[in-house]
Symmetry: C2
Protein backbone atom coordinates (compact mmCIF):
# COMPACT_ATOMS: atom_id res chain seq x y z
CA UNK A 1 0.00 0.00 0.00
CA UNK A 2 2.64 2.54 -1.04
CA UNK A 3 0.00 5.16 -1.78
CA UNK A 4 -1.79 4.97 1.55
CA UNK A 5 0.06 5.70 4.78
CA UNK A 6 0.05 3.43 7.82
CA UNK A 7 -1.56 6.26 9.76
CA UNK A 8 -4.48 6.54 7.38
CA UNK A 9 -5.05 2.80 7.39
CA UNK A 10 -4.82 2.55 11.18
CA UNK A 11 -7.24 5.42 11.55
CA UNK A 12 -9.65 3.78 9.11
CA UNK A 13 -9.52 0.58 11.19
CA UNK A 14 -9.85 2.35 14.55
CA UNK A 15 -12.79 4.46 13.42
CA UNK A 16 -15.14 1.58 12.67
CA UNK A 17 -18.18 1.82 14.91
CA UNK A 18 -21.66 0.35 14.92
CA UNK A 19 -24.28 2.30 12.94
CA UNK A 20 -27.93 1.26 13.29
CA UNK A 21 -29.66 4.23 11.67
CA UNK A 22 -29.88 4.19 7.88
CA UNK A 23 -31.39 6.36 5.18
CA UNK A 24 -33.43 4.83 2.38
CA UNK A 25 -30.74 5.57 -0.22
CA UNK A 26 -30.09 2.34 -2.13
CA UNK A 27 -26.72 0.57 -2.27
CA UNK A 28 -25.47 -0.29 -5.74
CA UNK A 29 -24.83 -3.88 -6.70
CA UNK A 30 -21.21 -2.97 -7.50
CA UNK A 31 -20.68 -1.90 -3.91
CA UNK A 32 -22.34 -5.07 -2.59
CA UNK A 33 -20.09 -7.16 -4.86
CA UNK A 34 -17.05 -5.32 -3.58
CA UNK A 35 -18.01 -5.95 0.06
CA UNK A 36 -18.56 -9.63 -0.80
CA UNK A 37 -15.09 -9.83 -2.37
CA UNK A 38 -13.58 -8.46 0.84
CA UNK A 39 -15.54 -11.14 2.70
CA UNK A 40 -14.58 -13.89 0.31
CA UNK A 41 -10.88 -13.33 1.06
CA UNK A 42 -11.49 -13.88 4.77
CA UNK A 43 -8.99 -16.24 6.33
CA UNK A 44 -10.22 -19.34 8.14
CA UNK A 45 -8.87 -22.16 10.24
CA UNK A 46 -6.78 -24.40 7.92
CA UNK A 47 -8.32 -22.41 5.03
CA UNK A 48 -11.43 -24.61 5.32
CA UNK A 49 -13.65 -21.66 4.35
CA UNK A 50 -16.62 -22.85 6.41
CA UNK A 51 -18.61 -19.65 5.94
CA UNK A 52 -21.09 -18.51 3.30
CA UNK A 53 -23.25 -15.45 2.90
CA UNK A 54 -26.85 -14.94 1.95
CA UNK A 55 -27.33 -11.41 0.60
CA UNK A 56 -30.78 -10.09 1.46
CA UNK A 57 -32.27 -7.03 -0.22
CA UNK A 58 -35.97 -7.92 -0.12
CA UNK A 59 -37.63 -5.43 2.29
CA UNK A 60 -40.16 -8.03 3.42
CA UNK A 61 -37.43 -10.49 4.30
CA UNK A 62 -35.48 -7.74 6.02
CA UNK A 63 -38.55 -6.88 8.11
CA UNK A 64 -38.72 -10.46 9.26
CA UNK A 65 -35.08 -10.34 10.31
CA UNK A 66 -35.96 -7.28 12.34
CA UNK A 67 -38.77 -9.19 14.05
CA UNK A 68 -36.40 -12.08 14.77
CA UNK A 69 -34.16 -9.90 16.92
CA UNK A 70 -31.81 -8.45 14.32
CA UNK A 71 -33.54 -5.08 14.51
CA UNK A 72 -31.17 -2.97 12.37
CA UNK A 73 -31.70 -5.43 9.49
CA UNK A 74 -35.25 -4.10 9.00
CA UNK A 75 -34.14 -0.68 7.73
CA UNK A 76 -30.74 -1.57 6.26
CA UNK A 77 -29.88 -1.12 2.60
CA UNK A 78 -28.57 -4.66 2.44
CA UNK A 79 -28.23 -7.52 4.91
CA UNK A 80 -25.56 -10.20 4.90
CA UNK A 81 -26.56 -13.38 6.72
CA UNK A 82 -23.53 -15.45 7.75
CA UNK A 83 -24.01 -19.19 7.29
CA UNK A 84 -21.56 -21.79 8.60
CA UNK A 85 -21.27 -25.40 9.71
CA UNK A 86 -21.54 -25.20 13.47
CA UNK A 87 -20.67 -23.24 16.61
CA UNK A 88 -17.08 -24.43 16.10
CA UNK A 89 -16.93 -21.91 13.24
CA UNK A 90 -17.83 -18.93 15.45
CA UNK A 91 -14.27 -17.56 15.43
CA UNK A 92 -14.15 -17.66 11.62
CA UNK A 93 -17.64 -16.10 11.47
CA UNK A 94 -16.32 -13.25 13.59
CA UNK A 95 -13.36 -12.73 11.26
CA UNK A 96 -15.71 -12.63 8.27
CA UNK A 97 -18.14 -10.24 9.99
CA UNK A 98 -15.32 -7.80 10.78
CA UNK A 99 -14.29 -7.83 7.12
CA UNK A 100 -17.84 -7.14 5.92
CA UNK A 101 -18.12 -4.21 8.34
CA UNK A 102 -14.80 -2.80 7.16
CA UNK A 103 -15.63 -3.50 3.51
CA UNK A 104 -18.78 -1.41 3.98
CA UNK A 105 -16.83 1.33 5.79
CA UNK A 106 -14.40 1.48 2.84
CA UNK A 107 -17.41 2.72 0.83
CA UNK A 108 -18.43 5.20 3.51
CA UNK A 109 -21.36 3.03 4.59
CA UNK A 110 -22.56 2.42 8.14
CA UNK A 111 -22.97 -1.09 9.49
CA UNK A 112 -23.48 -3.23 12.54
CA UNK A 113 -23.52 -6.85 13.63
CA UNK A 114 -26.92 -8.11 14.77
CA UNK A 115 -28.05 -11.55 15.89
CA UNK A 116 -31.09 -13.68 15.22
CA UNK A 117 -32.63 -14.67 18.54
CA UNK A 118 -35.01 -17.34 19.81
CA UNK A 119 -36.77 -19.00 16.89
CA UNK A 120 -35.02 -16.60 14.49
CA UNK A 121 -32.27 -18.86 13.18
CA UNK A 122 -34.66 -21.77 12.50
CA UNK A 123 -37.25 -19.49 10.87
CA UNK A 124 -34.62 -17.78 8.71
CA UNK A 125 -33.21 -21.08 7.55
CA UNK A 126 -36.64 -22.39 6.60
CA UNK A 127 -37.61 -19.22 4.73
CA UNK A 128 -34.31 -18.95 2.83
CA UNK A 129 -33.93 -22.64 2.02
CA UNK A 130 -30.84 -23.12 4.19
CA UNK A 131 -30.40 -26.75 5.33
CA UNK A 132 -31.44 -27.29 8.95
CA UNK A 133 -28.01 -28.55 9.96
CA UNK A 134 -26.32 -25.28 8.95
CA UNK A 135 -25.79 -22.47 11.45
CA UNK A 136 -27.21 -19.00 10.72
CA UNK A 137 -27.16 -16.59 13.66
CA UNK A 138 -25.08 -13.55 12.83
CA UNK A 139 -26.14 -10.81 10.48
CA UNK A 140 -24.24 -7.79 9.17
CA UNK A 141 -26.61 -4.91 8.35
CA UNK A 142 -25.27 -2.21 6.02
CA UNK A 143 -26.72 1.12 4.91
CA UNK A 144 -26.09 4.78 4.28
CA UNK A 145 -25.75 6.36 7.71
CA UNK A 146 -28.68 8.54 8.75
CA UNK A 147 -26.62 11.30 10.32
CA UNK A 148 -29.64 13.19 11.68
CA UNK A 149 -31.11 10.15 13.39
CA UNK A 150 -27.73 9.29 14.89
CA UNK A 151 -27.32 12.82 16.20
CA UNK A 152 -30.77 12.69 17.82
CA UNK A 153 -29.84 9.57 19.72
CA UNK A 154 -28.46 9.52 23.24
CA UNK A 155 -24.70 10.10 23.46
CA UNK A 156 -22.64 7.38 21.85
CA UNK A 157 -22.39 4.50 24.32
CA UNK A 158 -19.55 2.92 22.40
CA UNK A 159 -16.84 3.60 24.91
CA UNK A 160 -14.00 1.13 25.24
CA UNK A 161 -12.07 0.17 28.33
CA UNK A 162 -8.68 1.85 28.68
CA UNK A 163 -5.67 0.23 27.07
CA UNK A 164 -4.26 -0.83 30.49
CA UNK A 165 -7.31 -3.02 31.03
CA UNK A 166 -7.21 -4.38 27.51
CA UNK A 167 -3.53 -5.20 27.00
CA UNK A 168 -1.12 -6.94 29.36
CA UNK A 169 2.58 -6.99 28.61
CA UNK A 170 4.51 -10.29 28.85
CA UNK A 171 2.43 -11.48 31.82
CA UNK A 172 -1.30 -11.27 32.55
CA UNK B 1 -11.61 8.90 4.86
CA UNK B 2 -11.64 11.72 2.31
CA UNK B 3 -7.96 11.27 1.56
CA UNK B 4 -8.07 7.53 0.87
CA UNK B 5 -10.23 6.12 -1.89
CA UNK B 6 -12.70 3.28 -1.46
CA UNK B 7 -10.67 1.30 -3.98
CA UNK B 8 -7.48 1.60 -1.98
CA UNK B 9 -9.19 0.59 1.24
CA UNK B 10 -10.97 -2.36 -0.39
CA UNK B 11 -7.72 -3.52 -1.91
CA UNK B 12 -5.96 -3.23 1.44
CA UNK B 13 -8.68 -5.40 3.02
CA UNK B 14 -8.74 -7.96 0.21
CA UNK B 15 -4.96 -8.35 0.18
CA UNK B 16 -4.61 -9.60 3.73
CA UNK B 17 -3.13 -13.08 3.69
CA UNK B 18 -1.44 -15.34 6.23
CA UNK B 19 2.34 -14.89 6.57
CA UNK B 20 4.24 -17.41 8.67
CA UNK B 21 7.83 -16.58 7.69
CA UNK B 22 9.42 -13.66 9.52
CA UNK B 23 12.80 -11.97 9.58
CA UNK B 24 14.49 -11.15 12.88
CA UNK B 25 13.98 -7.40 12.42
CA UNK B 26 12.40 -6.07 15.62
CA UNK B 27 9.00 -4.36 15.80
CA UNK B 28 8.95 -1.02 17.57
CA UNK B 29 6.81 -0.52 20.66
CA UNK B 30 5.02 2.34 18.86
CA UNK B 31 3.84 -0.06 16.18
CA UNK B 32 2.75 -2.61 18.78
CA UNK B 33 0.81 0.11 20.61
CA UNK B 34 -0.86 1.14 17.37
CA UNK B 35 -1.92 -2.44 16.60
CA UNK B 36 -3.29 -2.72 20.16
CA UNK B 37 -5.31 0.49 19.67
CA UNK B 38 -6.87 -1.00 16.55
CA UNK B 39 -7.68 -4.09 18.61
CA UNK B 40 -9.03 -2.11 21.53
CA UNK B 41 -11.69 -0.52 19.30
CA UNK B 42 -12.98 -3.93 18.30
CA UNK B 43 -16.75 -4.19 18.52
CA UNK B 44 -18.32 -6.88 20.66
CA UNK B 45 -21.72 -8.31 21.47
CA UNK B 46 -23.62 -5.64 23.50
CA UNK B 47 -20.23 -3.84 23.81
CA UNK B 48 -19.34 -6.26 26.63
CA UNK B 49 -15.68 -6.20 25.57
CA UNK B 50 -15.00 -9.76 26.75
CA UNK B 51 -11.55 -9.95 25.16
CA UNK B 52 -8.10 -9.01 26.41
CA UNK B 53 -4.62 -9.38 24.97
CA UNK B 54 -1.34 -10.58 26.40
CA UNK B 55 1.52 -9.13 24.36
CA UNK B 56 4.44 -11.56 24.24
CA UNK B 57 7.91 -10.51 23.13
CA UNK B 58 10.06 -12.85 25.23
CA UNK B 59 11.74 -15.30 22.78
CA UNK B 60 11.66 -18.11 25.34
CA UNK B 61 7.93 -17.69 25.87
CA UNK B 62 7.42 -17.47 22.12
CA UNK B 63 9.31 -20.75 21.66
CA UNK B 64 6.96 -22.41 24.10
CA UNK B 65 3.98 -21.16 22.11
CA UNK B 66 5.59 -22.74 19.07
CA UNK B 67 5.87 -26.05 20.92
CA UNK B 68 2.22 -25.80 22.00
CA UNK B 69 1.01 -25.86 18.41
CA UNK B 70 1.13 -22.17 17.50
CA UNK B 71 4.25 -22.72 15.38
CA UNK B 72 4.56 -19.28 13.74
CA UNK B 73 4.66 -17.70 17.22
CA UNK B 74 8.17 -19.11 17.75
CA UNK B 75 9.81 -16.84 15.16
CA UNK B 76 7.40 -13.88 15.21
CA UNK B 77 8.45 -10.37 16.18
CA UNK B 78 5.55 -10.13 18.59
CA UNK B 79 2.73 -12.43 19.63
CA UNK B 80 -0.73 -11.38 20.75
CA UNK B 81 -2.52 -13.97 22.88
CA UNK B 82 -6.29 -13.44 22.89
CA UNK B 83 -7.90 -14.00 26.29
CA UNK B 84 -11.67 -14.14 26.83
CA UNK B 85 -14.36 -15.51 29.11
CA UNK B 86 -15.50 -18.66 27.36
CA UNK B 87 -16.24 -20.33 24.03
CA UNK B 88 -19.32 -18.08 23.82
CA UNK B 89 -16.89 -15.25 23.04
CA UNK B 90 -15.40 -17.02 19.99
CA UNK B 91 -17.19 -14.73 17.52
CA UNK B 92 -15.86 -11.62 19.28
CA UNK B 93 -12.39 -13.20 19.44
CA UNK B 94 -12.54 -13.65 15.67
CA UNK B 95 -13.49 -10.00 15.17
CA UNK B 96 -10.57 -8.92 17.35
CA UNK B 97 -8.12 -11.26 15.59
CA UNK B 98 -9.07 -9.86 12.19
CA UNK B 99 -8.43 -6.34 13.46
CA UNK B 100 -5.00 -7.27 14.84
CA UNK B 101 -4.06 -8.85 11.49
CA UNK B 102 -5.21 -5.76 9.61
CA UNK B 103 -3.59 -3.43 12.14
CA UNK B 104 -0.29 -5.22 11.49
CA UNK B 105 -0.85 -5.08 7.70
CA UNK B 106 -1.39 -1.30 7.97
CA UNK B 107 2.27 -1.17 9.05
CA UNK B 108 3.38 -3.48 6.25
CA UNK B 109 3.86 -6.40 8.64
CA UNK B 110 3.01 -10.04 7.99
CA UNK B 111 0.78 -11.97 10.34
CA UNK B 112 -1.24 -15.09 10.89
CA UNK B 113 -3.69 -16.64 13.31
CA UNK B 114 -2.39 -19.70 15.13
CA UNK B 115 -3.95 -21.86 17.83
CA UNK B 116 -2.70 -23.42 21.02
CA UNK B 117 -3.43 -27.15 20.91
CA UNK B 118 -3.72 -30.00 23.40
CA UNK B 119 -2.26 -28.93 26.74
CA UNK B 120 -1.23 -25.59 25.20
CA UNK B 121 -4.00 -23.37 26.56
CA UNK B 122 -3.67 -24.71 30.14
CA UNK B 123 0.13 -24.47 30.04
CA UNK B 124 0.05 -20.94 28.63
CA UNK B 125 -2.41 -19.78 31.25
CA UNK B 126 -0.30 -21.19 34.06
CA UNK B 127 2.94 -19.68 32.73
CA UNK B 128 1.44 -16.24 32.10
CA UNK B 129 -0.62 -16.03 35.28
CA UNK B 130 -3.98 -16.11 33.49
CA UNK B 131 -6.81 -17.41 35.73
CA UNK B 132 -7.76 -21.01 34.93
CA UNK B 133 -11.36 -20.09 34.15
CA UNK B 134 -10.33 -17.75 31.33
CA UNK B 135 -10.09 -18.95 27.74
CA UNK B 136 -6.79 -18.54 25.83
CA UNK B 137 -6.60 -20.46 22.55
CA UNK B 138 -6.05 -18.07 19.67
CA UNK B 139 -2.82 -16.29 18.94
CA UNK B 140 -1.98 -13.64 16.37
CA UNK B 141 1.69 -13.81 15.35
CA UNK B 142 3.17 -10.70 13.71
CA UNK B 143 6.54 -10.04 12.10
CA UNK B 144 8.40 -8.52 9.21
CA UNK B 145 7.72 -10.80 6.25
CA UNK B 146 10.69 -12.92 5.17
CA UNK B 147 10.14 -12.51 1.45
CA UNK B 148 12.88 -14.99 0.49
CA UNK B 149 11.54 -17.74 2.73
CA UNK B 150 8.02 -17.17 1.42
CA UNK B 151 9.24 -17.38 -2.16
CA UNK B 152 11.04 -20.66 -1.44
CA UNK B 153 7.83 -22.21 -0.18
CA UNK B 154 5.47 -24.25 -2.26
CA UNK B 155 3.01 -22.16 -4.30
CA UNK B 156 0.58 -20.20 -2.20
CA UNK B 157 -2.20 -22.57 -1.12
CA UNK B 158 -4.42 -19.71 -0.07
CA UNK B 159 -6.99 -20.05 -2.78
CA UNK B 160 -10.58 -19.15 -2.05
CA UNK B 161 -13.73 -20.70 -3.42
CA UNK B 162 -15.37 -18.74 -6.24
CA UNK B 163 -17.84 -16.04 -5.37
CA UNK B 164 -20.80 -18.14 -6.63
CA UNK B 165 -20.05 -20.71 -3.93
CA UNK B 166 -19.52 -18.06 -1.26
CA UNK B 167 -22.45 -15.71 -1.82
CA UNK B 168 -26.11 -16.54 -2.41
CA UNK B 169 -28.53 -13.82 -3.45
CA UNK B 170 -31.90 -13.53 -1.65
CA UNK B 171 -32.22 -17.29 -1.24
CA UNK B 172 -29.70 -19.96 -0.30
Amino acid sequence: MAQTSSNELSRFLRRLHAVREYTQEPISEDVIQDILEVGRWSGSSANKQPTEIVVIRDPELQSKFGEWGARPAATAGVVFLIVSGSEANAFDEGRLAERLLLGAAAHGLGSTVATLKGEGPAAAKQLLGIPEDRRAIFVVAVGHTDVEARRARKPNPEARKPIEQFAHWDRY
